[in-house]
């Protein structure tokens, strides 16, 4: 029996997460907890960043005890599978070389797979890997995107100059005119280093193949199981889609890195098919660093034209974006359409032009990492506004205020192809400034400077295109995938509800929040709603979780299905209550006749009636469920203001936080506790990028920051206490007013912190520093690097 309906609305309340108990007790199962008796796959990676492969000798490895099989790229080729991981976004002139799951002719970065050993246990598999003998002919490597396009080194023969695409957006002539007319032009050259996503759970796959039925099941660390299914079916393995089941069990963080189809799960599944049984693989952390798609890797020249009162007239940006050795699925979309389109930030900038040259390099593939494209674009704009304000001797906050898009201008069409849905930018900015006591901090800064202490305050505004998003528009721009999401809402005869949705959780708490959405639509208790995600056999179709889309698009799909279910139930209610449908009102789970409140029936009773089918309207099919493919009419546009106060120690270069304030507006909040958690985590990653994180390669293409020893992740004792607040500006076109919150704080935090540190260093004549702002970088910059 169903429980009693909630008295108050479950939408918007901080319901505790149903995910937690299993995770807290160790009962919850991640991919490597599956198939405990399976054989283990170990994958050999290239020793060099760039080399031709002369020979791979696996004979010694094959002879080892416990080894079941050793395979190379030649074996994969011979099996006749399609063997080509594709990019999912085409751009004009894009060069798309074949991306094999194991290299055959040439290795192009140190993560390229060369051979796979299947053995009875992990230890035997890795022992045998050491016995695979590869003869290489080494080639020179190129690692920086700006150098790659000038280099004699060629990563792919199809792109002799290493240019994968040359993209532009905006009106170049209008920008030229704006620059001529403006009083002042500020410029900055900046780099956004590579970020390694560092989900704490390494990527993994466990595959089981039944030769008698040809059914292949792959449990894996996936943000989008249906995407993995269609790609493994059509692009790498050629396994029939209807006999391929992808399951994402608990997934331990993703931040973008688990969106993509990597060679590893294809190799694992291919091995399972070869051996006709079960095998599993999990990346070591070293392999994660070498193979999980990195983020960012931009080298940019930016110019901003302003009048002397701070009014912005135009923005010109040219970026070399590193794509790594192969094109991952959103590698092309991220530095083009997700980047150039957001350069207007929260400002009314009449003319913007952006050119992006995407370059192949002998490095780990680069793709979307939390904030993808939008983080890089906002960083450029929010950094150059600070640079320009200082040159004009204006307060950077006032320059921002002068140019904010006012609330009455929405929907607002930018100079770079987006139509912002809604925004109350000044309100959020003022809230942040009030919380951080901006005027007071400026006074304290001046006083402390007299005593040789260097305080800095940094403010950054941001707007984010979230949701990924209208299918037709995306298709016109080159997307090879839709932007909808699928959601099923199904009443059971007893009155409880199952929801199936195509998003896939990696810690966001979808099973809680999407149950809240369904419960609110149906007026049933949230505990009576179960949410199923992450299994292609349980969910009809799905696009997955990335781009802050699960709330607005997944939630939108669930809400739409909930509304369809309510409308069908309304028809049955009208029939049973002998009233016109127009006279039947629905409120908190109960239908009643207008003006006759005692003539009522609950939606749970109607569910039972719908499945009995004895007493429903003629022509109506029994059952009470609905499926929606919700395709948004636009992106949603979360926004906000982040502000940081830091102190720099001039003797050590150390950056210490005094305050960190974040005011985020993600529209309606389904669960404020979870929203705040997303903001906290986003801030931590944004601060990490600003102060400590960078993946560095040496000239040979070896990843120097190849472990957690060399790559400095933020830890509990290196991060400040966050003070968060929010404003609520609903998205006018989203069914539940939600805008999404997964990436916002990562986008806002990085420029806020860099602006704060550079502000602190103003007395030393520093106008810009490239990330990460380590003690050494800051210390060196003081005194103009003279010491």
């Amino acid at each position: 029996m169903a429980s009693e309906p909630n008295a108050e609305s479950v939408f918007g309340s901080s319901v505790e997460r149903r995910e937690d108990v299993g995770l807290l007790t160790g009962d919850a199962e991640f991919t490597d907890d599956k198939l405990q008796d399976a054989a283990h796959v170990a994958i050999l990676r290239s020793q060099f960043a760039h080399a031709t492969i002369e020979e791979i000798d696996v004979s010694a490895a094959e002879e080892r005890d416990g080894v079941l099989a050793v395979y190379t790229g030649a074996d994969v080729e011979e099996s006749g599978v399609p063997n080509d991981i594709p990019t999912a976004w085409m751009l004009p002139g894009l060069v798309t070389p074949q991306y094999r799951i194991m290299a055959t002719d040439k290795v192009r970065h140190t993560g390229d797979a060369l051979a796979a050993v299947v053995a009875e246990d992990r230890y035997a598999a890795y022992d045998a890997l050491d016995d695979v003998d590869v003869t290489y002919d080494r080639l020179e490597a190129v690692t920086r995107p700006d150098e790659a396009v000038e280099s004699d080194v060629t990563v792919h023969e199809e792109a002799p100059d290493n240019v994968a695409f040359d993209f532009e957006l905006g009106d170049a002539d209008a920008v030229d005119e704006a620059f001529e007319a403006a009083d002042h032009v500020a410029s900055v050259d900046l780099e956004q280093p590579r970020i390694i996503p560092n989900a704490v759970e390494p990527r993994a796959a466990a595959a089981s193949y039944d030769p008698s039925s040809d059914e292949l099941t792959v449990w894996m660390t996936s943000q989008n199981p249906h995407l993995h299914r269609v790609l493994m079916s059509t692009a790498t393995l050629g396994h029939p889609e209807h006999k391929l089941r992808i399951v994402a069990p608990e997934v331990g963080g993703g931040f973008g890195s688990k969106i993509y189809h990597y060679p590893d799960e294809a190799i694992t599944a291919w091995c399972a098919k070869q051996l006709g049984g079960s095998v599993k693989w999990q990346a070591t952390r070293t392999q994660s660093y070498a193979t999980d798609c990195h983020g960012r890797d931009h080298v940019t020249e930016a110019e901003l034209a302003l009048d002397s009162d701070g009014t912005i007239r135009g923005l010109r940006v040219e970026t070399h974006a590193g794509l790594g050795a192969h094109l991952s699925q959103f590698a092309t979309a991220t530095p083009s359409y997700l980047y150039a389109t957001i350069l207007s930030s929260e400002y009314a900038i009449p003319a913007i032009h952006c050119r992006v040259i995407g370059a192949f390099t002998n490095t780990t593939p680069v793709d979307a990492y939390r904030g993808a494209g939008r983080a890089e674009g906002i960083y450029v704009t929010e950094r150059i506004v600070d640079v320009a304000a200082r040159e004009l001797d204006l307060d950077p906050v006032e320059v921002r205020r002068t140019n904010l898009i006012p609330p009455e201008e929405f929907p607002y069409e930018t100079a770079v192809a987006l139509v912002y849905d809604s925004g109350e930018y000044e309100e959020a900015m003022d809230r942040a400034l009030e919380l951080i006591d901006y005027e007071g901090v400026r006074e304290r800064q001046e006083k402390l400077r007299e005593g040789g202490r260097y305080l800095g305050v940094g403010v950054a505004n941001f707007v984010e295109s979230a949701g990924l998003s209208p299918s037709k528009a995306a298709g016109e721009l080159g997307a090879q995938a839709g932007g909808w999401e699928a959601g099923v809402v199904r009443f059971h005869p007893s009155g409880t509800v199952s929801v199936a949705v195509g998003t896939a959780d990696q810690g966001q708490g979808h099973r809680t929040t999407l149950a809240q959405v369904a419960a609110a639509e149906l007026g049933v208790p949230v505990d009576d709603v179960e949410v199923v995600e992450g299994d292609t056999d349980e969910v009809p179709q799905g696009m997955g979780t990335y781009g802050s889309r699960s709330g607005p698009v997944g939630g939108g799909a669930v809400a739409q299905s909930g509304r369809k279910v309510v409308e069908k139930a309304r028809s049955i209610a009208a029939h049973k209550l002998e009233a016109s449908e127009d006279d039947v009102e629905f409120d908190d789970g109960t239908f009643h006749v207008v003006g006759a409140p005692d003539r009522s029936i609950s939606i749970q009773e109607l569910a039972y009636a719908a499945y009995l089918g004895h007493d429903i309207p003629d022509e109506m099919e029994p059952g009470l469920e609905a499926t929606s493919y919700y395709d948004p009419e636009n992106f949603t546009f979360p926004f906000g203001t982040h502000a940081a106060v830091v102190e720099v120690d001039p003797d050590t270069g150390e950056v210490e936080f005094h305050r960190y304030v974040a005011v985020d507006d993600c529209g309606e909040q389904i669960n404020p506790m979870i929203v705040e958690g997303q903001v906290h985590g986003g801030i931590a990653q944004g601060i990490g990028a600003a102060l400590s994180e960078a993946a560095n390669y040496d000239d040979n293409g070896t990843l120097v920051s190849g472990s957690m020893n060399e790559y400095a992740l933020p830890r509990s004792d290196s991060l400040p206490e966050y003070e968060t607040d929010s404003t609520v500006t609903p998205s006018p076109h989203n069914p539940i007013g939600v805008k999404g919150v997964g990436e916002s704080a990562t986008i806002g935090a990085t420029p806020a912190v860099v602006n704060a540190v550079v502000d602190a260093l103003e007395p030393f004549g520093v106008d810009h520093l490239d990330m990460p702002l380590t003690d050494e970088t800051v210390w060196t910059a003081i005194d103009g690097g003279e010491r």
Partner: protein
């Protein structure tokens, strides 16, 4: 390839188990692959992330860099021994209430490190909590809610202690 194996005894969460392991077998792999305690996780194999943290004879240990033979005869506590779904440990309850976990992969190790802190220092400051947890990586939460959770649990455990 090592053919020698050793018979060892581990008492895991109060249950004594005998097993044969290679000299090189890591404690985390003995627990997960041989004995089926999949609560502790492998995150980095280099002592840097802390997802594999368990208690060995009452002390927190990163089980990815301890050999199983080194734990021969020891009492081992994994997250499975902390509390049951219907009877959570105060730390587990506080982590849920304070939203101190998102993906949950670091959580088993985080809980055992926090437990060790509270055993040594029942009333830690926030700075002490942050310092105690610096060897356990979390990429999701930004740590603040974890610190809140440990503070909440400490207060509750102290109140319960006082009531005894």
């Amino acid at each position: 390839m090592t053919t020698d194996t050793h018979e060892i005894t581990l008492t895991v969460n109060g249950t004594t188990r005998e097993l044969r392991v290679e000299p090189r077998t890591l404690l985390i792999h003995a627990l997960r692959d041989e004995l089926g305690y999949t609560g502790p996780k492998v995150g980095c194999e280099t002592t840097l992330c802390g997802a594999c943290t368990v208690h060995v004879d009452g002390k927190p240990v990163k089980s990815c860099t301890m050999l199983a033979v080194q734990a021969d005869g020891a009492d081992v506590t994994t997250v499975e021994g902390l509390g049951e779904a219907d009877e959570l440990h105060p730390l587990q309850t506080a982590f849920q209430e304070e939203h101190g976990l998102q993906c949950g992969y670091c959580t088993p190790g985080m809980l055992l490190t926090a437990l060790s802190l509270l055993e040594d220092e029942p009333d830690p400051t926030r700075a002490e909590i942050r310092e105690a947890l610096e060897g356990n990586l979390c990429r999701c939460t930004g740590y603040q809610n974890i610190v809140d959770a440990v503070e909440t649990a400490a207060a509750r455990m102290n109140a319960a202690e006082g009531a005894d």
